[in-house]
């Protein structure tokens, strides 16, 4: 194949954009796991709800005549984060808090139950058909172009949409890292992660901190939902399942409980998928992503950046 480098660059851009979506969702899995040690399997559905809130807001704005893209995008993001956060908060309050302290299996099964519930809830409210949306952001910039043997030109371009996705993801992840490492809220979260009882003894409201963790995870997942919607243009009530599982895979790949791990894992899964689709077959891209997970877990059970569980003496 000619134009190898250009083709490679194209796939890389695709992979990184896809990885942004996975990374943003994976943070929610990893944070919740870190603080209460459970896998929130309904997190994919939170992402899906974020996508639905986005499409509803976009269409409403369209009816209202607000079509200036930057303004519309900001309104959609804010709405989606706000509404989805309420769902995340409610989920923890209603389904998980009553089970705190019960065996892990109970929480896990509840999470799967909530996932099924939320899918059906959206299906009932919004119908089972896929919801399309017109392309919101069009155009792009040409990064490089080269002559192909048959006389045509191969153009590597970065669409404005991809650029916005990348910038948005980088900004969110930076802000988020600062929150976790530098602010009192982040310190309280890490304290609850390490020793919940001691955190309470110091005056940390543990329940509120856990709620806020769910809210933060949901807000990031909702942004991923918005991105997914404007990138792919169609959503349905089941969209959270596969994306959720992939993001969970990303979190485990990076080392569940580790924030940089979730970001790295998301990026890797996205890139692996893009390259596999680009160089081999699209049909087996999921197999590739999960295959890598299996390999990593065999050789590094704690994930790439995960810390081994050291027993306290």
């Amino acid at each position: 194949m000619q134009n190898t480098f250009e083709y490679f660059l194209d796939q890389l851009i695709n992979g990184v954009t896809l990885g942004s979506i996975y990374g943003l969702i994976a943070i929610g899995y990893t944070l919740v796991y870190g603080i209460i040690g459970m896998i929130n399997f309904a997190h994919g559905e939170i992402f899906m709800i974020g996508a639905f809130v986005s499409i509803i807001t976009f269409l409403t704005l369209g009816i209202m005549g607000i079509t200036w893209v930057p303004l519309a995008l900001v309104i959609v993001l804010v709405m989606s984060m706000a509404v989805t956060s309420v769902y995340g908060w409610t989920l923890e309050r209603v389904a998980y808090r009553p089970l705190r302290g019960s065996p892990r299996l109970a929480a896990l099964i509840t999470a799967i139950g909530m996932s099924i519930f939320l899918q059906n809830y959206v299906q009932l409210l919004q119908g089972a058909r896929t919801k399309p949306i017109q392309p919101v952001i069009t155009g792009g910039m040409e990064l490089m172009s080269s002559k192909m043997p048959d006389g045509g030109t191969y153009v590597v371009s970065l669409s404005y949409l991809q650029a916005i996705i990348l910038i948005l993801t980088i900004v969110l992840m930076t802000v988020f890292t600062i929150i976790i490492t530098r602010t009192p809220l982040g310190r309280a979260q890490r304290a609850c992660e390490q020793d919940r009882k001691m955190a309470a003894l110091l005056g940390v409201n543990v329940d509120r901190t856990i709620s806020l963790t769910f809210v933060m995870g949901a807000a990031l997942a909702s942004v991923a939902g918005t991105i997914f919607l404007i990138r792919y243009g169609v959503i349905d009530f089941f969209v959270g399942f596969l994306v959720g599982v992939k993001a969970f895979t990303a979190a485990v790949l990076g080392g569940i409980g580790s924030l940089p791990g979730a970001m790295l894992g998301g990026l890797l899964i996205g890139i692996i998928e893009a390259f596999w689709s680009g160089y081999f077959t699209v049909e087996y891209k999921d197999v590739a992503a999960f295959g890598i997970l299996v390999l990593v877990l065999i050789f590094r059970p704690t994930g790439l950046l995960g810390k081994p569980d050291i027993e306290k003496v």
Binding site: P184, R187, R190, D195, K197, A199, A200, L201, N205, V206
Partner: protein
């Protein structure tokens, strides 16, 4: 300042405290001594509402705190350096102290940290080191320092001398006296009865979830049964 009346605390079906009465007055150092498993740590944790007393009452400065949430109780001005120190191993010394100050006005932070570093100069040298890498004595200093960061009026200390070298133990007790002289009331749980009774104004002896004896530090030090059980050969 702290009134404990007829407190019964259970762990599951096990009755760890079987009706404890105890008082701590403002400005005192009060010590609670007793063997392993007597219920000393349970009493300290019951004061902080974790676990809560099943029967009886705990009153702090005329506020009944028996059924209050832990994080609300400590906001009243009670701080605890708990059994096993429980510092956050994955965080730096400074972050541990910042967590101690979570309930106070951030404006106080600089002053309060300076005071803690003044009390424990070793912590200053290690302020950017992770808590888990500290030695036992340093971790104990950090646990006490962290408790002081919340500007408590009542400080609960659970076996601050446990596992420390004799020289460091002396130092820890000196610091406790110093803290007390600065106006903080101290409730000290100890197995190291000799040191504890020497610095305490009053003391209680506990066994099997009950208070056996009480008196001034001097009286208990001189008491033959106390000497036999907790001081000699130990």
């Amino acid at each position: 300042m702290l009134e404990i009346r007829g407190v019964h605390t259970f762990y599951g079906n096990i009755e760890a405290l079987k009706g404890v009465d105890l008082d701590v007055h403002e400005g005192e150092i009060v010590t609670l001594i007793g063997a392993n498993g007597a219920g000393k740590s349970t009493l300290l944790m019951t004061v902080c509402g974790s676990p809560q007393a099943q029967r009886g009452s705990v009153t702090y400065e005329d506020t009944e705190i028996t059924r209050m949430a832990t994080f609300d109780i400590v906001r009243l001005g009670i701080a605890q350096s708990p059994e096993g120190r429980r510092i956050f191993p994955g965080m730096t010394v400074l972050e541990n102290l910042q967590l101690g100050a979570i309930t106070t006005n951030p404006d106080f932070f600089e002053d309060d940290v300076a005071k803690v570093f003044d009390l424990f100069p070793r912590l200053k040298e290690r302020s950017n080191q992770r808590g888990g890498t500290l030695s036992g004595g340093e971790q104990q200093m950090l646990a006490i320092g962290r408790a002081l960061m919340s500007r408590p009026r009542l400080l609960l200390l659970d076996e601050p001398s446990l596992g420390l070298a004799p020289l460091i133990v002396k130092n820890v007790f000196r610091v406790i006296e110093k803290i007390n002289k600065e106006g903080i009331t101290v409730f000290l749980v100890e197995q190291n009865a000799y040191h504890a009774l020497r610095i305490a104004h009053r003391g209680y002896v506990m066994a099997n979830g009950k208070i056996l004896k009480s008196g001034t530090g001097k009286e208990l030090l001189a008491d033959p049964s106390v000497r036999a059980a907790y001081l000699e050969g130990g």
